[in-house]
């Protein structure tokens, strides 16, 4: 069956499902402990998955399949990219539960159930090998998110989830229609088979657009990004963490898994669209982030700018661009998740997200200030942190295709430094002017336990990214080979000149 002779992926979906149901009937404290135990168990299973993953082995591993009815099958299996995204999910989940430990006091059982159910769906999305199974999990994944925002969210939660709903609805309907057509045309709903099926170029165009409608919203790309700041602002801390950490990766995963390999010609045809929207996003949302007064909104807008680097890297059609995009996805999942946790830490103390209400936290919360600084720097893409590796690879890949677009996208490193340092200055530096801010205690042991593992992962990915890149190497290679036929020509057009003799000798030690 697979290298473990055991349906581990089904277990990783079944276990949280069962725990979610049990949580509904438990009291608050028991539900918390059950959720924590379950998510930690899943993290352990994730490590088992990673440890036994055969790098350089078959593309699809841990495959399991049982036909249900018609063409529909419970088909699961992962490649390296899926595995890294599942790792991201199971790594962040216990942290989310921990982040909700004290701040959620109402309907705790249901809350934990919603999170566990979401974990089922997220693992499922990355593991699904049947296109309809993918669709169900992909769309259903939003339901618990709606609930989390709608029930445990802030004052304006109804508007936020309504916006989220409107945006997603349109995209998912057209994507479903496209999927139905594809299955009819190819005669299978098996994703690995579809990956190598060549759709007619004319059909590809509208199929690509149908998928794009869904993925662009999830990504989110400019101009369909306006649901994200509102959703983040209204969501509880852990909701923001999982939204930024994992749900935003579904759009990128969709491009990677469907749009590019299934419709290479159409992808090439629409490069201008993706590049155009992404360039606008980098400049536009970075400038908007600069003027935000609300911490969560600021980080939400910065997410849109970072996700634009993902789309640019993916549509570079080459290895550096795509590997970089995957690393940006993983890195952003960790870093923005951590930044939202950092906001949550001080929100729990002062109950406001308004930046100007803080200031001087480096004085009374030094541990917090150090960690917040680390994540700020990772967000800016300082070399040695995960942020740099992904950004650098995406942009270097992009440069091979288009120097203009790279020039525009790289200005993001200036703007990113601007808005993040401006935020950090207003929160952590300056005098402690407000009495209530002065009274805020430094990180508790629980909060330290949430942030420290992410900090370690961010540094690890920055200094030795090979651990994360080795598993995805083969899969990116397969993808690049698949789309190579449609790869655009670079704009560099390097032309060799006449060999020119260099007059000056290069330090041959001929000094007198």
């Amino acid at each position: 069956m697979n290298q473990l002779d055991f349906p581990i992926l089904s277990l990783m979906m079944g276990l949280p499902m069962a725990a979610a149901i049990i949580c509904l009937f438990l009291n608050a404290q028991a539900a918390r402990w059950l959720a924590l135990a379950t998510t930690l168990a899943l993290f352990v299973l994730g490590i088992v998955l990673w440890a036994n993953y055969d790098i350089g082995g078959p593309q699809w591993q841990y495959v399991e399949r049982s036909d249900l009815f018609g063409n529909f099958a419970w088909a699961l299996g992962i490649d390296g990219i899926s595995m890294m995204l599942i790792m991201l999910t199971v790594f962040l989940m216990p942290i989310c539960i921990g982040a909700s430990w004290e701040s959620i006091q109402t309907r705790v059982g249901e809350y934990m159930a919603a999170f566990l159910f979401m974990e089922v769906l997220m693992i499922g999305v990355f593991a699904a090998q049947d296109i309809f199974l993918f669709y169900i999990l992909f769309e259903a994944g939003l339901i618990p998110m709606y609930l989390i925002i709608g029930i445990w969210g802030g004052a304006n939660r109804i508007y936020a989830s309504y916006k989220f709903f409107l945006y997603t609805l349109l995209g998912s309907v057209v994507m479903l229609i496209a999927m139905l057509w594809m299955v009819q045309d190819a005669g299978t709903s098996d994703i690995p088979t579809l990956l190598n099926y060549d759709f007619a170029p004319e059909a590809q165009t509208w199929l690509w657009l149908a998928f794009f409608a869904s993925f662009a919203v999830k990504m989110p790309m400019w101009p369909v990004h306006t649901w994200l700041p509102d959703a983040h602002v209204q969501a509880p801390t852990a909701g923001s963490v999982i939204l930024a950490g994992v749900l935003l990766k579904m759009g990128g995963y969709g491009f990677l898994r469907f749009s590019l390999p299934m419709f290479p010609e159409a992808s090439e045809q629409f490069i201008w669209l993706v590049f155009g929207l992404s360039m606008v996003a980098v400049i536009y949302t970075s400038l908007v982030a600069l003027v935000q007064q609300d911490m969560k909104k600021l980080i939400a807008y910065s997410s849109v700018a970072h996700m634009a680097i993902v789309t640019l890297g993916l549509f570079a059609f080459n290895r550096q661009g795509i590997e970089g995009a995957v690393i940006v996805m993983l890195s952003h999942g960790l870093v923005s998740g951590a930044l939202f946790l950092c906001v949550g830490v001080i929100y729990d103390r002062l109950h406001t997200r308004e930046i100007d209400r803080y200031g001087g936290l480096a004085i009374n919360m030094p541990k917090y200030a150090i960690l917040f600084l680390l994540f700020t720097m990772a967000s800016i893409g300082l070399p040695g942190t995960s942020g740099f590796v992904g950004e650098f690879l995406s942009l270097i890949g992009l440069y091979e295709v288009n120097s203009w677009v790279t020039l525009v996208a790289t200005t993001g490193i200036i703007l990113g430094a601007g808005y993040m340092l401006y935020l950090y200055r207003r929160v952590a530096f300056g005098e402690l002017v407000h009495e209530d801010v002065k009274a805020m205690p430094d990180l508790s042991a629980r909060e330290m336990a949430l942030l420290a593992p992410i900090a370690a992962a961010v540094m690890w990915m920055g200094v030795y990214p090979e651990s994360f890149m080795a598993p995805i190497r083969g899969d990116v290679g397969a993808l690049v080979a698949r789309i190579d036929r449609a790869a655009p020509e670079g704009d560099a057009h390097l032309k060799m000149g006449e060999a020119k003799a260099i007059a000056k000798d290069h330090a041959e030690g001929e000094a007198h």
């Binding site: 009815f69 018609g70 063409n71 169900i136 339901i143 609930l147 309504y162 709903f165 409107l166 945006y167 998912s172 309907v173 479903l176 709903s189 369909v224 649901w227 536009y284 949302t285 400038l287 908007v288 600069l290 003027v291 080459n318 720097m377 300082l382 040695g384 590796v389 270097i396 440069y399 120097s403 790279t406 790289t410 200005t411 490193i413 200036i414 703007l415 430094a417 340092l421 530096f429 300056g430 030795y464 990214p465 090979e466 670079g490 560099a492 057009h493 390097l494 032309k495 060799m496 000149g497 006449e498 060999a499 260099i502 000056k504 000798d505 290069h506 330090a507 030690g509 000094a511 007198h512």
Partner: protein
Amino acid sequence: MNSITLIVFLPLLAAIVAGFGNRIIGNVPAKVITTGALFAACALSWPIFIGFVSGTSSAEVVPVMTWIISGDLNFDWSLRVDTLTAVMLVVVTTVSALVHLYSWGYMDEDPDQPRFFAYLSLFTFAMLMLVTANNLVQMFFGWEGVGLASYLLIGFWFKKPSANAAAIKAFVVNRVGDLGFMLGIFATFLVFGTVSIPEILEAAPGMAGSTITFAGMRLDTMTIICLLLFIGAMGKSAQLGLHTWLPDAMEGPTPVSALIHAATMVTAGVFMVCRLSPMFETSDVALTVVTVVGACTAIFAATVGLVQNDIKRVIAYSTCSQLGYMFFAAGVGAYNVAMFHLFTHAFFKALLFLGAGSVIHAMHHEQDMRYYGGLRKEIPLTFWAMMAGTLAITGVGIYWLHAGFAGFHSKDAIIEAAFASGSQVGQFAFFIGVLAALLTSFYSWRLMFLTFWGKPRWIQSEHIQHSVHKTPEQAGDDTTGGYHPHESPLTMLVPLGVLSVGAVFAGFVFSHAFIDDGGFWNGAIAYDAGLMHAMHEVPLWVKLSATAAMLSGLATAYFMYFRGTDRPARLAATFSPLYAFFFNKWYFDELYDRIFIRPAFWFGRLFWKKGDEGTIDRFGPNGIASVIASGSGVMKRFQSGYLYTYALVMLLGLAAAATWIIVQGAS
């Protein structure tokens, strides 16, 4: 364990221990560990350098571990040691070790000392990673690492709004340069298929004359790559246009200014151009740009330095100006001379900054030279140290004896090399170089006269008033206000002494190796023996021109600030527009504020309010909602039941799909 590994990683280890462990181990051990680590690194560095000077060492690369592998693009963490690195190793570790020691005294009253020492050591680690880089990306790592440390140290007193603003400004302006650096790395990889420095340098001559398209323009390949990388160098080395952060960086504690903003980090740009010199040699256009930018910075910064009143700002502009010298030396092909000036400058400029710190320490944190005066007798040791630094920077020496202070050997060589290069731009640089030498001498002596000679003007200073609890009126004729400046403690005087030795002898002792010995460089930079030869053959008036400029500057300063102290004010009144132009730093900050900062915020608000809220939301989700609402009363039901509606739509879709699958499967 290799000694280079220890040199690089000891400071990192010390930074971690002092930064995270100071609550456990206490303040003094944290200071002992960081300072000890730096002295150890320094002690290990000098033998490497001496090995290269005596010709017994050869270049090597010590691998550390894999960093990134992505298809053709792969590079490691590794430590390269060659002549160029060895020069930087001694500069960085020596100045850093002395600055650590100096900070024991200077920062004695600060409650956050372990944090300060941890940052200093972290900076040193990043700088060492930069100078030992064997590939462009590791150089970029060090580049950004020193930027981070600089940000943290400028903003060390983070309660001060001005310090925070300066820290952000330094980081963001440097990022503008980094944009160029990154694009340069991208273009290098595209063209050469590698980011390994030795491989690029080997392949570079073969690329000369090729063309490439960049951002829609058809350009010479090597020119565009070199210029992009040079933009990075301009940011880090505060060259004209990207210099605005450096004077503001003086908000940081003075030891930081000495280490980062004088001796080491700001010279990283010069180091980069020298490290990549075989590449720059392939593009005359790029070299011309380097020369012109360097020369313009040299003269620009010197003019601003003439009229500043803050002692640290005078030295900051002086640094900016001296970096300009180094760049135009590199631009005319005299990379070894640029490195020589970098080497001597590190000693005398660190000395001047630390000396200024000692003066500030003595004067109760007053930095305005207008309130100094007559300090020569009060703090004699500091005075003599500053004197050594001033003699070095102004280039005092006697041509016929081939002997002088450090700057005499290195700066005069730059001026001669510019002349000897024979090109038109070289002549331009020569002319600017001489003129800037005059201004250098003037502002340096102005600083000395205002600080150490004349009558005390201390009571005008608010800091002194606070100290002696008197207003100028109460003090009456006693312009000292009864204040007694105190000489600095031994921890501060020892570094001053050591650096004074460097300022006096570094030029004389190492002149031969740096300038005339191609074997010393051994391929680490593009060494142009022909140019060095031509340099010795320039006419006598050229050789004496720098000394003449130095003497004229001294005479003018003496005339204005020693003899007739009312003359500067009269002169400023006569040429008030020019004075205001210089005093306001050519209005760069005002210009940038209007064309970059304010528009960025204005556009941000525009996009947010008019774009996101006024257009996208208005015609998007809100628009749809209002259309439905105006049509019927459905909206209300719709809004309250959106979740169910969504689930319904999805389920309907799925049901359709399932039905279809079943039908398909059956047929």
